[in-house]
Symmetry: C2
Subunit: 453 residues, 2 copies
């Protein structure tokens, strides 16, 4: 009989698992169960759809449903997975008012994450939005087009908060960005966050850090966002993006073990503790390549990789997830901010003797027009001189995203400062410098660790 | 007594050696002997000066003479090193009509390369230029500004030939580019060279490959370039760029051994066979990291690194040159073409069981405006699945130069196709794809080597 692979979740991890399974074992029967109508959509693209750079939401599909079905994958949209019976190997689903049993030989749980609901009053008011799903994105854009708000408040200056800030500003809306941490984008060093805040202010965004929001209230002509310390920010629309948490209700009820931050515990093959049950994506723990232990680090790139591995292994493969470095980049107006590996504070918290060097360097020879200044930070282990992390802020046209990838590769390969100096990187005057910015940082770092080991 | 370090050559390798020596041993006395008036100038920048993007030649200095002297380095311009007496540790120089002995404790020979004079008749005619020195660059620009040529022929479609093609075209000159190989830029695979030729033609450049030049002759109103097979190309100015060869006359006369292509043989510490004599830059053999043997590979980045190592070791250091991968990038109009490591034909010639996969991939999600198609080629060892080389052609704004650096790093670290797939690279829709183009190539390559090992 044809083996049956059932996947719960139609986003990055789920569809990657389905595609990889079909590719690995073309005879396998693959069914993907998902609650909404949006298989394989790019959640990461929502801010661009909301901002209008992407004309309409169907464009956000990585692949259409027809593309997916064309390779022999069976899609079950509008289908809610209610429970898993691991002893009988059945997923109980609800669709079209009917309860139905979906039997499986192997199961991949890819239920993703859900937005954290912060303790803010008034989140249900009209004009107040959270952003995680395609439906939420459509609701925000619909609201913007119907009401033409003039003032927006974005609560939370993480990646999505920054992208939403740009999206709303590009629509001509005056944006106030609120962040409870001391600087925007708390995933990078405060010094870089402060630099970014200055840039945002220059772009006309009002940035307020160290600001916790107590509530949103309706006023005569709009909304009022109340800070804990009494500050008030008027708005016509409010977007709250306070991070995500793993969506594990289905898995936990079935007896799947969870670990860090309540995410599903998986082994390197993406197996859960239950036989025939794999899990991948934003609902699982992610093995960190440097820390050599699981953390919670939901990212699209990771979800893709984990999904592929779960899908391959569910049909007989034996591939292991190599681990994440938390490599991330965000574009905000003309800038990009990127990081990989560990910041100094993170590295120290995990027991590394970490030190960070900060450097500014030109992206290309200054005699060629358009040279841009890059702000770099490299974190190293003072004992081994091994690279632990890297951060960069600068104009995205100066290839910030791919520059961080060089460091992601170097860190994966356990390179030291000296190894980094020895790399044979490319150079031509309009696009680089003979001594690459990372190599300048490596040299400064080397002197720093030699001076005070 | 203060140790005396003498360096012959004031370009990348020589000045890097001087700076690194002063940094390593601040008490050392450093003298740099060079024949022209241009210490530490960017030869790589000449096409941009000739094209007019760089307003004037002094801007091409990486550092001014004053900058260099400010760190305690003594510059001896207009000084020709005539001979080295290794037994007495003296460099005999000629300057201002006078012969003079410059004693040294340690010597670094950084005499660079000189352009190959191809067997073409008429190279000395007015309006016919070679390009390697600042003086030659100034002569070309002077000629362009004085004579306003309408038609140019560039002989040789390597890196500098391509940059000169752009430079002349940007001045409104109709350019014909001649190359004896079957495609332009013979340092990359022919398929990519053909792609590039089509692009150049679309930019209005006439490209003729498989065309060897016999002679240049003066005609009534200009010049005529004669191909070996009878083709004729009229021109008002001709630029011949046929590669370089190591400039080793001084070294050889002193008894320094040479090796590959006549370049100075050095050990990993950049020592020659003579005591107290180091060498670095375009005049030396370069250790190739993958081949684990010396080849001749003159590049600015390598010259920098070798110079630093020679300078450090000349004052007591013990650093080794890790080797080159031949990483290179050139910008031509809006495109960049880059490579690192070995092409399939090169790898096979050196005994690798090499195979190349070719892939086209978008630089970022296509739903975000401005996505650009990249052309990638990855060469792997079919036996070990190790990465051997990578090539990329595409719009430079799509970060081609830094994308090749990711592969240069991966190849340095001896990664396999699977390791490449496992890398945690950055992603955001405007700047990348969740599955990076190199990872797409790795996946295709993996299937290719598994199918027919």
């Amino acid at each position: 009989m044809t083996p049956r692979l059932v996947i719960v979740g139609g986003s990055d991890a789920g569809i990657s698992a389905a595609l990889q399974a079909r590719k690995t074992a073309p005879d396998v029967q693959v069914q993907v169960i998902f609650a909404d109508a949006y298989p394989n959509f790019s959640i990461c693209g929502l801010p661009y759809y909301i901002g209008g750079v992407v004309a309409d939401w169907p464009l956000l599909a990585h692949r259409t449903a027809a593309d997916i079905e064309a390779v022999g994958i069976s899609l079950m949209p509008h289908t809610v997975a209610e429970s898993v019976d691991p002893s009988r190997q059945i997923v109980w689903v609800h669709a079209g008012g009917q309860r139905q049993a979906v039997p499986y030989d192997q199961l991949v749980i890819a239920t993703g994450a859900r937005p954290i609901m912060p303790p803010i009053g008034g989140l249900n008011l009209p004009g107040v939005f959270m952003l995680h799903t395609i439906d939420q994105g459509r609701a925000i854009r619909g609201y913007l087009e119907a009401h033409h708000p003039r003032r927006a408040v974005v609560v939370g200056a993480g990646y999505i908060g920054l992208e939403m800030t740009e999206a709303l500003a590009e629509r001509g809306i005056a944006v106030t960005l609120l962040e409870q941490a001391p600087a925007v984008l708390p995933t990078v060093d405060e010094a870089l966050g402060q630099l970014l805040a200055l840039y945002l202010e220059a772009k006309g965004v009002m940035v307020r850090c160290r600001t916790r929001v107590a509530s949103v209230e309706r006023t005569g002509d709009g909304l009022m966002v109340h800070g804990m310390e009494g500050a008030r920010f008027p708005a016509d629309v409010v977007v709250v993006v306070a991070g995500v948490e793993p969506d594990t209700a289905l898995a936990k009820a079935a007896g799947v073990h969870t670990g860090v931050r309540g995410a599903i515990a998986v082994d390197p093959a993406m197996r859960t503790n239950l036989p025939h049950v794999f899990a991948a994506g934003d609902c699982v723990e992610t093995y960190h390549r440097l820390l050599r232990r699981p953390i919670y680090l939901p990212l699209g790139t990771t979800a893709h990789k984990q999904g592929r591995i779960a899908g391959e292994n569910a049909v007989g493969g034996s591939r292991h997830f190599a681990g994440s470095l938390g490599t991330q980049v965000v574009k905000v107006f003309d800038w990009a901010i990127a990081r990989t590996g560990l910041r100094e504070d993170e590295a120290k918290a995990w027991g590394f003797a970490a030190r960070t060097v900060a450097v500014e360097a030109w992206d290309h020879k200054t005699y060629y027009p358009g040279a841009e200044l890059l702000h770099l930070r490299v974190t190293v282990d003072r004992t081994t001189h091994r690279l632990l992390g890297a951060q960069m802020v600068g104009p995205w046209r100066a290839a910030v995203a791919k520059r961080i990838d060089v460091m992601a590769t170097a860190i994966s390969c356990e390179l030291t400062l000296r190894d980094l100096e020895d790399l044979d990187l490319s150079y031509t005057p309009p696009l680089g410098t003979p001594w690459d910015p990372w190599q300048i940082a490596a040299e400064v770092g080397q002197e720093s660790v030699e001076r005070t080991p």
